[in-house]
């Protein structure tokens, strides 16, 4: 994939009360931002499980946005602090796995911050675009010689033993 045509695929996990509504507001206000983020709604950023982020990356997402209400402004009192802690833990682990920090970003946006959310999307997309595709599933595809080696082994054994078609 050449850089000119690389359109990052990004999954955004957003809480029902603030960040999802910020995205709604960005829409109502016709604020334009890159179309790369596909938003998945959860009730609270506290629902966001690191597994979701890993799942998205493992399926080929180039980046992930985790968004919630500002700290201290959670609709569920303080559950977004749990999101903050999990994000810190996840970030630490992803760094060890070699995933660039810019690919997974934590964003706080209140329901009134349509512009801020749009800006955050713009930044995330620009950051990921600069890093290039992640293509995580491609990461565990083996070199071509693996297939050849198995085929030659199958052939060798088949010829010797005449067991396999």
């Amino acid at each position: 994939m050449s850089d000119e045509t690389f359109e990052p695929k990004i999954v955004g996990f957003m809480c029902n009360w603030c960040s999802y509504r910020a995205a709604d507001l960005a829409g109502s206000a016709r604020i334009k931002y890159p179309p790369n983020v596909r938003i998945i709604r959860v009730m609270c950023s506290g629902r966001i499980d690191p597994t979701f982020v890993l799942k998205a990356l493992s399926l080929g997402a180039d980046g992930v946005m985790v968004a919630g209400c500002h700290p201290g402004e959670c609709h569920y009192i303080d559950q977004n602090y749990k999101a903050m802690r999990r994000f810190g833990m996840l970030k630490h682990m992803l760094a060890a796995m070699g995933v660039e920090a810019e690919r997974v970003q934590l964003v706080w946006a209140s329901a009134a911050e349509g512009q801020q959310l749009a800006d955050a999307v713009e930044k995330l997309v620009a950051d990921v675009r600069a890093l290039g595709p992640l293509n995580w599933p491609g990461n565990w595809n083996e070199h071509k010689d693996r297939l050849e080696a198995i085929e030659s082994m199958v052939k060798e054994h088949a010829e010797a033993m005449e067991v396999l078609p």
């Binding site: 629902r47 559950q79 599933p137």
Partner: protein, 673 residues
């Protein structure tokens, strides 16, 4: 058995169809998404015809799941859930895809918009297959209502509800109800006296059998939810026994300690250390200001106690925390004045004869510190010329971007009062004259006829740096007159700053307690700016008056009444539906590790010491899902947002990104092939 999914893509006129090829999305979904048996596009899905189409398909085509790709679920989720229910499908088997706010309105390129819409539809379609039927839960509505704020909006709301026969708790931070309206002299455009129209309402509220007045009190904590809130209120110590005091006022009269009254008199008048803010205060029970009271600060005096005929003074009184149970809450907390010292170029605080509009209201008010005489800061000189500067701290990106809505009319009113009471020339410096309500423009015309001078332009500065003898000793208002197209310097004796209305300093904090948010400007966010202006995103919490946005008295009254009407509707209905989105713990799988026990702010998770398992109390659970994400054994399920559903949604959203996997899968098959 495979689900039978129906997909409905809305054009929303051209709102969606303008930047998303909706026909293509529907066609693609029908061909590429598994288990889709119907995929259609339609001009307006939310119309009765659109809904009927879905209902018809559910019945005739045996749909078991429905996806509606249209606007935000916050707008129409209920509509489509109802349509499904009408056709006998559990409403929670319907999923909305937001391709308007999240796609068509934010995209510029139609091809990109169409691709994004496909991904979102795919996500919903994969998710909806795993959705489970849910039964809504109902709670009874407590008929009592809490109204926070005793200004005109809150008063109106409280009286409407009380008159309808429902109990109301009216909480007010100051010693008396009345709010800002009690400070004003006249009201525009009719010029009737503010106190004359307000005080009857105040005393009505004070005497109403259904209203419990909680003045000098503040909201401490809110728990529970719509229908059944529990509210903790701090009744601050007045140091006066509420039951013994008759409100005779001798204590204030005899109190030797005078202080500047920065609240009611806006800093230009005085009050005593034991005081009732104004003569018509409701209740008439005074309070002791401990920061200035001689007894509290120096340990001696006690004059008030000695003169009180009913022994009502109680220096030992403590703050009291009370708890009330209500079904709904109306916030009508009003506003505060912009701090004009933040615009030093206008000289407030530096130049003596620069006043705020609130100070000037008190100056004009016959019950105010000057008995209604308009005089300079020296307390005696009548000004010969007065400049009224509009938009101070409002319509200014450096302070408040929005318009304060009332200042043009208030400036006209103050101008009229100056013309009426003095011989001064009056200059109004305005950016735009906004007089767009009933009888407002007529009032503007009246002031033009009365001889008030109007200069269109934003004032650059108010200075005492004179350039010629005429300016010597005056305040010079420097301004570009945009109608004349030139700079003007107008020397005056007195300047009145029409200061912006700003949200209360603790508006955000109070909003959080009640679970509602503020706009960027700091006003409470209504559920819908046009169609639902007094409800909020939190069921059972309503807003009225200026706390929702700057507005004048008639609009505040209308909102107060509107909020009361909404609450009455809830009370009459008797019960409200709450979403069955709650967590459940599989007790078989729970090993009692107790990770989740500390995570719930509503204490909805209890630990069974005997069985060594944790359990969710459904009635307390608000469905945030934090415990679901935290459970290390994965045995907590969040209804409507379970792992399976979200994983499927992620997979669907990335339907076009998973290509790299296929190569691997084909490679593993070489032996068995």
């Amino acid at each position: 058995m495979a689900e039978r999914v129906g997909i409905y893509v809305c054009h929303c006129g051209s709102n969606i169809a303008g930047t998303v090829d909706v026909e293509e999305v529907a066609r693609w979904a029908g061909q590429h998404i598994k288990d889709v048996v119907v995929s259609k596009d339609y001009k307006f899905m939310c119309s009765s015809l659109g809904q009927a189409m879905i209902e018809e398909d559910i019945k005739t085509k045996g749909l078991t799941r429905v996806v509606v790709a249209a606007c935000s679920p916050h707008l129409h989720e209920k509509t489509f859930r109802r349509a499904c229910a009408n056709a006998g499908l559990n409403p929670y088997l319907c999923q909305m895809t937001n391709i308007r706010e999240h796609v068509s309105w934010v995209c510029t390129d139609k091809a990109a918009g169409t691709e994004k819409a496909k991904a979102l539809v795919s996500a919903s379609a994969e998710r909806v297959k795993y959705q489970r039927p849910l039964e809504p839960m109902y709670v009874d509505v407590n008929p009592a209502t809490l109204v926070v704020g005793g200004g005109i909006a809150g008063l109106q709301a409280a009286l409407e509800l009380a008159d309808a026969g429902h109990p109301v708790y009216l909480v007010e931070r100051e010693p008396s109800i009345g709010g800002h309206m009690a400070q004003f002299d006249k009201t525009f455009p009719t010029l009737d006296c503010s106190a004359c129209i307000l005080t009857p309402k105040m005393s009505e509220a004070g005497q109403h059998e259904n209203i419990t007045l909680l003045t000098y009190s503040e909201l401490e904590e809110v728990s529970g939810s719509v229908g059944g809130f529990t509210v903790k209120i701090r009744k601050k110590a007045r140091y006066v026994d509420y039951d013994k005091c008759t409100g005779c006022g001798i204590c204030s009269e005899k109190c030797p300690r005078k202080v500047i009254d920065t609240v009611f008199e806006a800093g230009i008048g005085e009050r005593k250390a034991i005081y009732s803010p104004f003569p018509q205060a409701v209740p008439r029970i005074p309070v002791i200001d401990v920061d200035s009271c001689l007894y509290f600060t120096r340990g001696k005096c006690q004059v008030c106690s000695k003169v009180c005929p009913t022994n009502a003074i109680d220096y030992e009184q403590k703050d009291e925390l009370i708890e009330v149970k209500v079904g709904n809450i109306i916030l009508a907390t009003g506003w505060k004045l912009f701090d004009c010292a933040r615009m030093p170029q206008y000289g407030y605080g530096r130049l003596a004869n620069v006043f705020t509009n609130l100070e000037f209201e008190r100056l004009c008010n016959a019950a105010g510190p000057t008995n209604g005489k308009i005089v300079l800061r020296d307390g005696k000189t009548e000004p010969k010329s007065v400049a009224i500067i509009h938009c101070v701290g409002s319509r200014d990106v450096n302070y408040n971007e929005g318009c304060s809505a009332v200042c043009c009319m208030a400036a006209l009113k103050l101008g009229h009062l100056v013309l009426e009471k003095t011989n001064a020339e009056v200059y109004s410096f305005y950016i735009d004259m906004r007089t767009n309500q009933k009888m407002y423009e007529e009032f503007y015309q009246r002031l033009l006829a009365e001889g008030m001078h109007f200069v269109r332009g934003k004032v650059a500065e108010v200075t005492d740096a004179a350039r010629n003898p005429d300016e010597q000793g005056k305040l010079i208002v420097q301004c570009e007159d945009t109608l004349l197209g030139r700079q003007r310097r107008i020397p005056v004796d007195m300047v009145v700053l029409m200061s912006a209305m700003e949200p209360q300093a603790d508006a955000k904090e109070l909003g959080l307690k009640c679970g509602i948010s503020c706009s960027m400007a700091g006003w409470y966010t209504e559920r819908h700016p046009k169609l639902d202006p007094v409800a909020t995103m939190t069921d059972g919490v309503f807003v009225a008056g200026v706390c929702q946005g700057a507005k004048d008295i008639p609009a505040s009254v209308a909102q107060g009444a509107a909020a009361a009407a909404r609450v009455q509707g809830m009370i009459t209905k008797g019960r409200v539906m709450i979403e069955p989105i709650v967590a459940t713990i599989d007790e078989e799988g729970c090993s009692g590790c107790r990770i989740c026990n500390n995570l719930c702010p509503y204490n909805a998770i209890e630990f069974d010491e005997e069985k060594k398992v944790s359990r969710v109390i459904a009635a307390l659970c608000k469905g945030c899902g934090t415990c679901v994400a935290a459970c290390p054994a994965g045995v907590i399920t969040g209804a409507h947002f379970n792992n399976q559903q979200i994983f499927a949604e992620i997979e669907g959203a990335l339907w076009d990104a998973a290509a790299a996997k296929t190569e691997e899968e084909t490679a593993t098959q070489s032996v068995s092939a």
